[in-house]
Symmetry: C2
Subunit: 280 residues, 2 copies
């Protein structure tokens, strides 16, 4: 049986640093590598990026949407990318932002966290619009298969605030924001599981951490380094008041790394300039 997700992530980040590289085969990025906007270009870009960085990076985050855009054939490429990441000894965090209830959530869990599933990753992202506890089939399956989940709590797009900072009426004297509530529920789920398999997604370009992280001890995926405007310095400052949480932040860069390609040496150089950053 696979080791628990948190232990595997501890080990690989200790060895390679905490950088997570997004695999985002955006048509513009694929074109910038001189590749066509077709299934062949999708495959060469995505697998080429992972191959170039296979020994250097702890985590890769493929963005499912860009593969889904090519239909079933795109998903076949995604399966190959996930296998490449496993082969590299790195952790795959598949960005699918799924969320549903009951037997449907269970089917999503089987699709992406089940042993033997064609698209199984080490972890996936989840969206909690139907409430944190609606995601429990995924949390439960991840626990039993040694995998993990990262739940959206605070995204850096301005439209997210109306939902994520709304006041949740759950019978508390000081009602929390939706984001704070979900972070605390994630922390409780880790307590119950006895391992930090539930992580959070917090945008690297937020101005401040405007939710409570009290009681949450898991990993934090922080997308937005580079092309979206986030810097390592800003991210470190963002977590200044949260030193414990900071040790488990996974700064995530996608386009800014990819645009150094397609040459492997240039890609490695782009990654190493991020990894040289003091905290790693």
């Amino acid at each position: 049986m696979r080791d628990p997700f948190a232990n595997r992530l501890d080990a690989v980040t200790a060895a390679r640093g905490r950088l997570c590289v997004g695999v985002d085969p955006h048509p513009a990025s694929v074109a910038a590598w001189g590749l066509p906007d077709d299934i062949g270009g999708l495959e060469k870009f995505s697998r080429g990026l992972v191959a170039a960085l296979a020994d250097d990076v702890a985590c890769f985050k493929p963005q499912s949407a860009f593969f889904e855009a090519f239909g079933p054939a795109g998903l076949t490429v995604l399966a190959a990318v996930l296998a490449d990441i496993a082969e590299a000894g790195a952790i795959s965090i598949l960005d699918v932002k799924r969320g549903d209830i009951g037997s449907t959530m269970d089917a999503y869990a089987r699709a992406y966290l089940g042993d033997g599933a064609a698209l199984a990753a080490d972890a996936i992202t989840l969206s909690p619009f139907q409430g944190f506890n609606s995601l429990s089939p995924a949390v439960d399956l991840a626990r039993s298969t040694g995998r993990g989940v990262f739940v959206l709590v605070r995204t850096s797009n301005p439209e997210g605030e109306a939902v994520q900072l709304a006041t949740a009426h759950i019978g508390q004297a000081q009602p929390p924001s939706v984001g704070s509530l979900i972070a605390s529920q994630a922390g409780e789920a880790n307590q119950v599981a006895g391992t930090s398999l539930v992580g959070l997604v917090i945008g690297a370009t937020l101005d401040v951490i405007d939710i409570s992280l009290q009681g949450f001890d898991g990993w934090i995926l922080a997308p937005g380094i580079g092309a979206q405007g986030g810097t390592m310095n800003h991210l470190k400052e963002l977590f200044d008041g949260h030193p414990t949480a900071w040790r488990r932040v996974l700064p995530t860069a996608a386009r800014s790394v990819a645009e150094a390609g397609p040459e492997a040496e240039s890609l490695k150089k782009a990654v190493h300039s991020l990894l040289q950053w003091p905290v790693f």
Copy 2:
């Protein structure tokens, strides 16, 4: 060019009634038809259900999760199911509950709402955890390709309330709930588009409509009839105070219809007993 989504839905529901049948190849439902829990069983169940009801039902709602659970091969079956629905002259509402921002949301839109996409449906479901306006790439593409979207606002699972009824602080004297805010934003998007391409998802088993539908004039997908405990009578009562909205409610039943199969005559009978219900 395809007619606008709302016009096509008007026409087919006028001819066939407003019932939407869920295509949920849940392992238990597939087994109940005497089919194996494999890709062949998935295909026979899903295409068999659509074939049996092709002339009787206005809308089919395939649940993507059950197809994704079989990986790329499952998505190939889903593409065939979507083609069958189009062939039947019915409307496909693909339940994918996608939600993201920027170029990622754009990729999801191309995957499911783009002309020529392998998995293009007449409409998809969307999840607004990152804010309604983050979904605009899908709304924009749906408008230009004559397709539609249904945005989650109030789901009937108890865990959904903490998010969907949270108070959204958007600078109004009487701040709305998240669900009310999204419903009003959906209404505005329809105003801007000049056609009701943005619908809402409201669970049929809610006790009351506890959000405001003011300013919203689009379609409402109401899953939960049958196995989840919703009845047509309850659904009608639920919308008693919303007579205008009621005329565009699509009551959605999945397992309760499927369990009448696999014989086509029994499936038709199950659907006709729902369609005989007075309001249709």
